[in-house]
Amino acid sequence: MNTLDHLVYMANQIARNFGTRDRDAAAEAVAGHILRYWDPRMKRRIIAYVADGAGSDLSDVAALAVSMVAEKAQPDHAATGA
């Protein structure tokens, strides 16, 4: 798996493990998890993947979660990785 595939896989896997919750709650849990445990570059890549409109391999909940992450991620870090 290349890095992007790996990130997509991970996001989907996290989403599946919150599968018993309803869509919004699950997405929120996934977003919380990503914010807490992913480094800025990983977040940036998955956000870009969705922003580019290529996010089709993400499950519905995972995609929603990534859009939540995009809103909450610290823009300076997420944007530059600096």
């Binding site: 890095t3 018993t20 990983m42 870090h77 990785g81 600096a82």
Partner: protein
């Protein structure tokens, strides 16, 4: 002070709370009821002559040397088997007793070789001592009678010899093996004069017997019959130092017995609270690696990995490392470098490595080898209980009534704790034995061993832990066995209700899940009922729980089960992770994870960050850093370029070897800090030689959260303790650190970490050990956690849905491979492979069920090719019913096997802990090593070359 063995009180301590007073030779003493007269006298330093008694095992009363007189009683009872009574008046020395004792000694000595001067036990022999104590001067029987002299010595065990001609048939060894170790390897054949000790069958020698070489019998033996080879070779030790074993998470403490700077033997410390005077083959005997010829003692560098290594000075190596890190950060950015801490190093060393990364590299790219073993424990227990650690001390097992072991193989991986658990399972001292439930794909030794049999063994399909635990919860909830009073008091009732409704659903019934788990539903129901209703229930788990794609979910499912049955917050119960490496707990506590600072505080928490920023005088990044697998991904992408690895061999221990090597190969500067040129060093540019636990000061924290001191017993052959190396690297980067002793690092840890607030070296020395949290609320530490309430407030029930792994069997890969470890080796085996422990495990073997073997036309001992979607390797086959049909099993101790070439990069959803325990594979006959093995062998040889330089001066 000259050498003294640790005092032997003759019989075990009584833990009764009521006391009894008596008089011994005119002196008064009060001792706990149940104490023997012998022990009471020993407390007064009145050492009654004895041979068959020793305080590790119950008294036996066979030698008749310890006779005493008691006022108002006839005869001369043995003091080792006579319990104290109130008002007893005891005499230990009278002319009559003296005469009797001399007679006994005469008999022993007339059947004993009189080569004391050249005997390996000279001056450290109880027979000699007692002959002196009773004043033996001549032998009426002469030396000509029948005797056992001249029998052949059994030298088969690599660490100790058995010389039967010196045996006095006291049976201390047999009792030590039975009671302390629980292996029942020795027998006393015959009676009286014909008595003879043997290891199992008459044809067995020690090596081929059931003996696991724990050494308990050697320690118990009062003569030179069972004697360490090292003592025979080197001589009697002349000083001792207390220290802590550096192998596994049990954390046994030892007296390192030295002669000058040479280690003679390691003797388990009776006051050690983790091991209580016991040890396993690794800790007691496998320390020879410290002086192995492969040990690298000088720093080395090279431009690229196809060049040979060049020995350089410390200054040059450190200067080069510092300038490389700076160069790379300048070129590729602040986040392009990182570090890995080691669970084998001390808390202080680990703390410094993460400090170097956070304060020196200016990012949070620090991770630890716990990533690949127990990171799900941290996540799962923190979420449910509020602390990333086990809830009990080891003593707690003595009060358990039902013990559930899941995904752990304690007799191999945590042998000393296993011995303590087995003691409880045999029901010694009148208490009925605890019941045992084992959930494991393999029939591990614990399932059936001498005097122990599991009530239930659930041989589940690898990867279905969550399904099995949910089914057990289903039984408990639907049959009304949950402890609702506990739940109402200690947990959030609504959360419980939601969880209970989830597990009660029909789709979680054991019958419905049987096709998935392959566990017979009736057996599972019975096990669940037993756990819920059998009294104090304790859960012990290991890597078979964590190393799965649902590792974190399984840990939470275990926590749910413990809360639902009210098994938290008192002795005898609890959730107990059995940690792999010695300092996994400590490495996690010290802030080795990229998202948290010491004491499990997230880097996004501004208050915590401010604490560190004030102390260190640098800003701390608020964003989490990269975890090991993410570092490797980033390296392959060209974004991560330099790594400092302390005491860890990620190439061999991490999954999917090819991915790891690709990541390492893509980096511009890999700094390996270790004892040996390990597999990771094949890809390294800078090698910094490390020191062993015998050569350093510091602390380790074991699986019970017990912080224990590691004391330096010899000078580091590489010149520096590991914390000094990290400090020198930091200073080469201009950080200006000035620690002069690890105690100062611990003071900093205590200052910055609330759960360690009361810890310092002086207190550790005084108390022997402390279990964190140690703070104002618990000044003497916390043997049991969550006593009056959960650390997080209310215990949290978490719904854990079973999500099957994506690693699936199919026509090409029809078998499931699961991996584990064995007793004589440790982790990647870097140390144990460099000791005589290879006598037991010279290579990794593949276990397969007879049916599967027959279907493939394979038989025991065949070379086989093991292949998965990731890669393939070859190894030899063992055909055994320990594994179920469809499942194969191997270990990963030897680099030539490279079992991790086969494992995949699937991992735990929450922590990325790799899924070692489930890989779909195929096995076929083979005629030799795979291409990868051959190429790798060649690369290793190339990469390990060291340039020979002409000696300067």
């Amino acid at each position: 002070m000259t050498y003294q063995p640790q005092k032997d009180f003759g019989t075990p301590a009584s833990n009764a709370s009521d006391t009894v007073s008596l008089s011994i030779d005119g002196r008064e003493i009060s001792v706990p009821a149940g104490t023997s007269v012998m022990r009471a006298a020993a407390e007064l330093d009145n050492n009654i002559p004895k041979l068959c008694a020793t305080d590790n095992v119950k008294s036996f009363g066979s030698c008749r040397l310890c006779l005493i007189e008691i006022e108002g009683r006839k005869g001369t009872p043995a003091s080792c088997t006579t319990p104290v009574e109130d008002g007893m008046v005891v005499k230990t020395q009278t002319p009559h007793l003296q005469k009797l004792r001399k007679g006994v000694m005469e008999l022993y000595i007339s059947d004993h070789p009189l080569d004391c001067l050249t005997c390996s036990a000279n001056n450290d022999c109880e027979l000699q001592d007692q002959a002196a104590n009773v004043g033996l001067r001549d032998l009426r029987y002469g030396y000509e009678g029948a005797n056992h002299l001249g029998e052949a010595t059994d030298t088969s065990n690599p660490y100790f010899d058995f010389d039967p001609s010196k045996c006095i048939a006291c049976s201390r060894c047999v009792r030590a093996c039975d009671e302390v170790q629980g292996t029942f390897a020795l027998t006393m054949d015959g009676r009286g004069f014909a008595s003879k000790i043997s290891a199992g069958l008459p044809t067995d020698d020690f090596l081929s017997s059931e003996c696991v070489s724990c050494g308990a019998c050697v320690e118990a033996c009062p003569t030179a019959t069972l004697q360490e080879k090292a003592v025979t070779e080197i001589g009697k030790p002349d000083r001792t130092e207390i220290t802590t074993c550096a192998y596994c998470g049990v954390g046994c403490t030892f007296r390192a017995e030295m002669r000058g700077e040479q280690l003679v033997r390691m003797v388990p410390w009776k006051d050690g609270k983790a091991n209580r005077g016991h040890s396993c083959v690794k800790g007691r005997f496998a320390w020879g690696y410290a002086n192995h010829q492969d040990r690298i003692t000088k720093p080395m560098i090279r431009e690229s990995i196809d060049q040979p290594w060049r020995e350089v000075s410390w200054d040059e190596a450190l200067g080069h490392a510092a300038s490389e890190i700076k160069r790379i950060q300048k070129k590729y950015g602040r986040l392009s470098v990182g570090g890995i801490t080691s669970s084998r190093c001390t808390n202080e060393e680990t703390f410094l490595v993460q400090k170097l990364v956070r304060a020196g590299f200016g990012n949070n790219n620090v991770d630890t080898c716990a990533r690949v073993c127990h990171s799900p424990t941290g996540y799962g227990l923190n979420t449910t209980f509020g602390t990333s650690a086990g809830t009990q001390d080891f003593d707690s097992v003595e009060e358990s009534d039902v013990i559930l072991v899941i995904g752990a193989n304690p007799t191999d991986a945590h042998p000393v704790f296993a011995s303590r658990m087995k003691k409880r399972l045999r029901g010694i001292d009148g208490k009925p034995p605890a019941k045992l439930i084992v959930i494991d794909p393999r029939r591990i030794d614990l399932v059936k061993s001498p005097h122990i049999e599991a009530s239930h063994h659930l041989p589940l399909q690898p990867g279905t832990n969550v399904a099995v635990l949910t089914a057990m919860a289903h039984v408990i909830v639907t049959e009304g066995l949950a402890d609702e009073a506990f739940i109402r008091e200690r947990c959030d009732w609504d959360e419980y209700a939601e969880w209970a409704a989830f597990v009660a659903d029909d789709r979680h019934a054991p019958e419905t899940l049987e096709p998935v788990t392959r566990v017979p539903s009736e057996e599972l129901r019975a096990a669940a009922r037993l756990f819920a209703t059998g009294g104090n229930g304790a859960i012990y788990y290991g890597l078979g729980v964590t190393e799965h794609s649902q590792g974190s979910s399984t840990v939470m499912a275990i926590a749910n089960l413990a809360m639902a049955t009210g098994n938290i917050g008192r002795p005898g119960v609890g959730v107990n992770p059995l940690r792999g490496q010695n300092n996994v707990q400590g490495a996690c506590d010290m802030g080795s994870f990229p998202h948290e600072l010491s004491g499990y505080r997230h880097v996004s928490d501004a208050t915590t960050r401010a604490l560190f920023e004030d102390d260190w005088g640098v800003p701390i990044d608020s964003e989490p850093g990269l975890r090991i697998p993410n570092m490797l991904d980033a390296a392959v992408d060209g974004e991560f370029k330099a790594l400092y690895v302390q005491g860890e061999d990620i190439l061999q221990s991490d999954p999917n070897t090819k991915h790891v090597s690709a990541g390492l190969a893509a980096m511009e500067c890999v700094i390996v800090h270790d004892l040996f040129l390990n597999e990771t060093a094949n890809y390294a540019h800078i090698f910094l030689p490390g020191s062993t636990f015998l050569e350093k000061n510091g602390t380790f924290t074991n699986a019970e959260r017990r912080i224990q001191l590691v004391n330096k017993v010899m000078t580091p052959v590489n010149g520096m303790e590991d914390w000094e190396v990290t400090q020198a690297l930091a200073n080469a980067m201009g950080l200006g650190w000035r620690y002069s002793h690890p105690s100062e690092i611990m003071d900093e840890i205590a200052r910055l970490t609330p759960t360690f607030a009361g810890v310092n070296f002086a207190r550790l020395k005084e108390a022997g050990s402390l279990q964190w949290p140690v703070n104002e609320a618990a000044p003497d530490g916390s043997p049991i956690m969550h006593v009056d309430g959960f650390v997080r407030g209310k215990g949290q029930f978490v719904v854990t849905d079973y999500v099957p792994t994506d690693e699936k069997t199919g026509p090409r890969f029809p078998l499931l491979l699961t991996t584990g470890r064995i007793l004589s080796h440790y982790n990647v085996g870097a140390q144990t492979r460099r000791t005589e422990n290879t006598s037991w495990h010279p290579e990794d073997l593949l276990e397969m069920h007879p049916t599967d073997a027959e279907n493939r036309g394979l038989k025991d001992g065949d070379w086989t090719r093991l292949s998965s979607r990731s890669g393939e390797t070859t190894l030899r086959l063992t055909v055994t019913e320990r594994v179920a049909p469809g499942v194969v099993y191997t270990t990963f101790h030897h680099p030539a096997t490279q079992a991790n070439v086969v494992t995949t990069d699937f991992s735990d959803w929450a922590t990325n802990c790799p899924e070692y325990k489930v890989t779909a594979v195929q096995v076929a006959a083979s005629n030799g090593p795979t291409d990868w093995q051959e190429e790798y062998e060649e690369l290793s040889e190339q990469a390990r070359r060291i340039e020979t330089v002409e000696a300067a001066e």
